[in-house]
Subunit: 521 residues, 2 copies
C-alpha cells in the first residue's frame, strides 16, 4: 500500500496502468531472463498487491527493462570485457583497423535501407536542426563512411551499440539497446580470399570462446537465385520465397512448403523441387556434384556461385577449418542486400535458456535460427547506394552475435557457481594494529607507483578480520600486513589469502615478490 | 554546378538553405578544428559556387559535423585506444570495477538535475512508450544506478559517450556527442581518504599521458560558502556569486568584481573582501593559516572545510603528489551538486590550438578554464535524490577531460609527423613468384593459429614490390617471403622491412623467430 510522499512518485499511476496489461508476459521474462536479479523478479509479483514505498524502486527497475534497456553490473561487465578481449584480439590478429561512427545518423541515411523493419528505427525528437535517428546497425553507417570518405579498401572492425524500437514486452528478452560486433573487408580483390578469411575468423572466435561445438553453414545468394530460377519461381517472388526458405531451421519442410504454396502462391511442384535442393548439405564435393546437376547447371549465376563455392572450400581446406563448415542449400539469411556468399554459425548443443535472453539471432538480424551465434555475407551493392556515381565497393562481413555470447557466458558462470572477479587488485595493504593509516597509505602509494594493483580500506582503524573479508569477497589474492614490528624491521607480512600462509618480505623486495606471486596464480 | 540525377539529392535545397546563414562560422570551425580533414575544409569554400556533383559528399560530410558529431577514422581510433588504455590501467590499479548504463534514460530521471542546461538534453521522439532522453552525463545515471540497486559502496569507472544539444555552429568545435571518463568512489568512509585517492589518480593519469606540466587546484565548497558568509554575501546569492568566482581563470578580478557588483548586486566592499581571499593560493600551511584567520574562523563550515583540507594535504604528502596540488581559494566549479572538496587539473603550458577542438573544460562541464583537463568533487546529496527515503550515499569523483586529451594527442602526433600505426600486424606473408597463393594462405593460417598477427594480400599473384609497399604504408615490420626454393628447403625468407635484411628461417622456428623479433622492436 502506498503511503509515502506522492510528489516523489509522479508516475505511480502511469506505472500501474502500464503494467497490468503486460504483467504476465513480464513475469515470464523476468524469471527466465533476469538471472542475476532475483529480488527484482520476486517483487514483480508483489505489484499485484499495490505499491508499497519500498517497492517503488523495484518498479522503476522494471520500467528500465520495460523500455528495453538494462544496466550492466560489474560482474556482467567483467564477462563482457573478457569476451570483447578475445574477439578484438582475433580481429587484430587478422590485421583489422577499427573506426567509430556517431550513435545517431541523419534520418535520411537510414531511410530505405531496412525494408519494413524501418518502423523499428528510433527517431530523435525534432528539437530544431537536422532530423536524426539512432543507428539501427553498424553496416549502413560503415557503408556511409566508406562512400563519404571515398575509401575503397579497408579491413575494419566495429563494436558498438545499436538501437531497435522493438516491443520488449512482446519479444521475450529482446533488448532495444544491444551490441553489434562486426568485422568487414571492403575492396576489389581476387575471389573468395576475403570470404575465406571471414569464415576463418568466425571459426577462431567460436573456438576460443569455448561455447561448445558449432557448425558454420555457407551458401551463396547466386546459387539460391539460380535454384529458384531453374525450379520455376517467378522473378518477383525470389526474395519472398528466400525468406520462407530461411525459416527451415525453425519450421518443418511441410510448414515451409505450406507457406510457399498457400501464402505465397507458389505451385506445389515448384515447391517440391525447391524442397529437394534445400535438403542438401555437403562440402566441396557437393559443389562439384551440383555443377553437374542437369537442371541447376543451366543457370549461369548458380554456376558462378557453385564455382566460387568450390574455390572457397579449397581455401578453407588450407585454413584448416572445413571440419566445421557445411555447404547448406537451405541457408538463406534475411537481409536483402546480400549478393554472394552468405554464412551463419550455429551452436550444435544449444542450451534452451540463453535463447530467451538475446535477440533472435546474431546481431539482431531477423529470421535466423535460435542457436545462431554469428552470421554475415557478401554485400557488393550497399556502398554504391551512398555514392552519387553509384561506384561500388565490394564488401564481405561477419557479425558475432555478441549478446547471445554474453548470455551464454553469464549462464555458464552461474551454472558453475564460478566466482567472477570484478576487480584485478593484486594486494590489499592492511594492518593489524591501530594508528597505522599513514603507513598503509604510504605503502599503497609505493605499490601504485610501481604498477601494482593495490587497495587499502578507507578507514582509520579497520579490523584485520574485515580487511581479510574484503579480500575473500573480492578475490584479492595477497595481503601486505603492516604492524609496529614490521615497520621497525623494514618488512611486511605477505599473506596468501587462499592458504593463509604468511611470510615476512623486505620492503625493498615487496614489489617483485607481489609480481612473482601473481604470475604464479 | 549541379547536373546530376536530382532524385539522388533530395536535400540539396535544404542543405543550401542550411548553410548560407552559418557558413562563415562553419568555415572558421572547419579550418581550426578539422585537423585531419583538409579536403573537407577546402571544399566548403566551393559551396558558394553552387553544388557540383562531386561536392555533394563533402556537403554531406559537413552536415555530419553540422549535427555536431564525427566519425573517428582508424588513426584517431588508434590514439583513442592508447589513451583509454592508460586511463583504464590506472583505474584498475586502484581497484575499480566498471558498470555500463543505457544511452537513454527515462526523461524524468534527467529532469531537474542540470538546472538551466536542461534545455540541452536530447529527447527521443515520442513513438509510443516511455519518454526517453539521451544521457547528459554519467553522474546522474550512476546515482540512479546506486539508488535503484541499493548500492552503498562501490569504486567504479565508466567511460562512455554523452549527448548535449549544443549549437555546434556557435560553439566552435563543441561536439554534441562526446566521451566522458569518470571515476567515482561511493560510500561512507573516514574523511578525505577517498578524496586523496581521486587526486592521486588524476596525478597518475596526467603524468602517464605526458601532456606537459600541470597543476591540480583544490578547494572545498564549505570553505567557499564560509567565505561568502563571513564576507557578508546574502545566503540566496551564494550559488550565483560562486559561479562568478568560477570565472576568475578566464577574466580579470576587475571584470569579476564588476559582475558581482553591477550584475549581481553585491556591495562593493563585500566584493573586495572576497577579492582578498580568492587571490590566495598555497598548501597545507595556508589551510593552517586560514584556520587562524579572525574572520574566516568564525564560520563553522569554513573551519570544517579547512580542517579537512589540512587532513587532505597530509594524505597527499604520503601519496607524494603535493608537488602538483595547490589549495586555491578561487576554484569554484560550475556544478551545483558539489558539497565538499572540489578539484580541477589544468595544463600549465597550454597550446592554443587544442582549445578550439574540445568542450569548454573537462567532461563538458560549464565554467572551467580552457586549459582544464580533469575536474571533479564531492557530491554527497545526489544519490539521495533518487532514493525515496532520501538515504544519502556520499560520493566523490573525478572526470578526465578525455576529448581534450584526444585532441592534444592528435595535435602532438601531427606536429611530430609521427607515423601512427592503425593495425598491429607483425608479419606479412608474401611471395616473389607466381602461383603461390595456396602456400601463402597455408603459412598465414599457421601463423594465425600460433597467435601471430599476420596479413596476406588478397591477390592471386601480387608483385613483391606492392607487398613490400603495403608493409611500408601500414608499418608491418616483418615479411615472410615464400618462393619455390624456400618451400623445397622448408624455410621462409624473413625480411626486416626497416633494414631490408633477409635471413632464411626454418618453417618450424618461424613463429618463435617472429615473436622474438617483435619483442625487440
Amino acid at each position: 500500500m502506498w503511503c509515502g510522499d506522492a510528489s516523489l512518485v509522479p508516475s505511480t499511476a502511469r506505472v500501474a496502468d502500464h503494467f497490468s496489461p503486460v504483467l504476465p508476459a513480464r513475469c515470464d521474462t523476468a524469471i527466465t531472463t533476469w538471472g542475476g536479479f532475483h529480488h527484482a523478479s520476486t517483487s514483480i509479483c508483489c505489484i499485484y498487491t499495490g505499491f508499497s514505498k519500498a517497492l517503488y524502486l523495484e518498479v522503476e527497475f522494471i520500467l528500465l527493462s520495460q523500455q528495453g534497456t538494462r544496466d550492466y553490473n560489474p560482474k556482467q561487465m567483467a564477462i563482457r570485457e573478457k569476451v570483447f578481449d578475445t574477439i578484438i584480439r582475433c580481429f587484430k590478429r587478422h590485421g583489422a583497423e577499427t573506426i567509430d561512427t556517431p550513435v545517431f545518423e541523419l534520418k535520411e541515411t537510414l531511410t530505405g535501407k531496412y525494408g519494413e523493419d524501418s518502423k523499428l528505427i528510433y527517431d530523435l525528437k525534432d528539437q530544431g536542426g537536422e532530423l536524426l535517428s539512432l543507428r539501427y546497425d553498424l553496416t549502413v553507417p560503415f557503408a556511409r563512411y566508406l562512400a563519404m570518405n571515398k575509401i575503397t579498401n579497408i579491413k575494419r572492425y566495429h563494436i558498438a551499440k545499436v538501437y531497435r524500437r522493438d516491443n520488449p514486452a512482446m519479444t521475450r528478452g529482446r533488448y532495444r539497446e544491444f551490441y553489434q560486433c562486426d568485422f568487414d573487408i571492403a575492396g576489389q580483390y581476387d575471389p573468395m580470399i576475403p570470404d575465406a578469411e571471414c569464415l576463418k575468423i568466425v571459426h577462431e572466435i567460436l573456438s576460443e570462446l569455448d561455447l561448445g561445438d558449432f557448425r558454420i553453414k555457407v551458401n551463396d545468394r547466386r546459387i539460391l537465385d539460380g535454384m529458384f530460377e531453374v525450379c520455376g519461381v517467378p522473378d518477383d517472388k525470389f526474395r519472398t520465397i528466400c525468406s520462407t526458405v530461411d525459416k527451415l531451421d525453425k519450421m518443418s519442410w511441410e510448414d515451409v512448403k505450406n507457406e510457399m504454396v498457400n501464402e505465397k502462391g507458389l505451385a506445389s511442384e515448384v515447391a517440391d523441387q525447391i524442397g529437394e535442393y534445400v535438403s542438401m548439405q555437403g562440402g566441396k564435393d557437393m559443389a562439384e556434384k551440383l555443377l553437374q546437376d542437369p537442371k541447376l547447371s543451366q543457370s549461369k549465376q548458380a554456376c558462378a556461385g557453385l564455382a566460387d563455392m568450390k574455390l572457397l572450400f579449397s581455401y578453407l581446406e588450407l585454413f584448416n577449418v572445413t571440419d566445421k563448415v557445411v555447404f547448406d542449400l537451405s541457408l538463406a539469411r534475411g537481409l536483402d542486400y546480400y549478393t554472394g556468399v552468405i554464412c551463419e554459425a550455429v551452436l550444435t548443443q544449444t542450451t534452451s535458456a540463453p535463447a530467451t535472453q538475446e535477440r533472435n539471432g546474431p546481431a539482431g538480424e531477423e529470421g535466423v535460427s535460435v542457436g545462431s551465434v554469428a552470421g554475415g555475407g557478401r554485400y557488393d551493392g550497399l556502398v554504391g547506394m551512398f555514392d552519387l556515381k553509384g561506384r561500388k565497393v565490394p564488401c564481405i562481413g561477419v557479425s558475432i552475435g555478441i549478446e547471445r555470447v554474453f548470455s551464454i557466458m553469464e549462464q555458464k558462470a552461474e551454472a558453475q557457481a564460478e566466482k567472477i572477479r570484478t576487480t584485478e587488485t593484486q594486494v590489499l595493504v592492511a594492518s593489524a594494529q591501530k594508528n597505522l593509516l599513514e603507513e598503509r597509505l604510504k605503502l599503497t602509494a609505493e605499490l601504485w607507483d610501481a604498477g601494482i594493483k593495490a587497495e587499502v580500506l578507507y578507514k582509520k582503524n579497520p579490523k584485520l578480520l574485515s580487511q581479510l573479508q574484503h579480500c575473500e569477497e573480492t578475490g584479492i589474492p595477497l595481503v601486505a600486513i603492516l604492524g609496529e614490528q614490521e615497520i621497525k624491521d623494514g618488512v611486511v607480512k605477505l599473506r596468501t589469502v587462499a592458504t593463509r600462509e604468511e611470510v615476512d618480505v623486505s620492503r625493498a623486495e615487496l614489489v617483485e615478490e607481489v609480481k612473482k606471486r601473481c604470475q604464479q596464480l
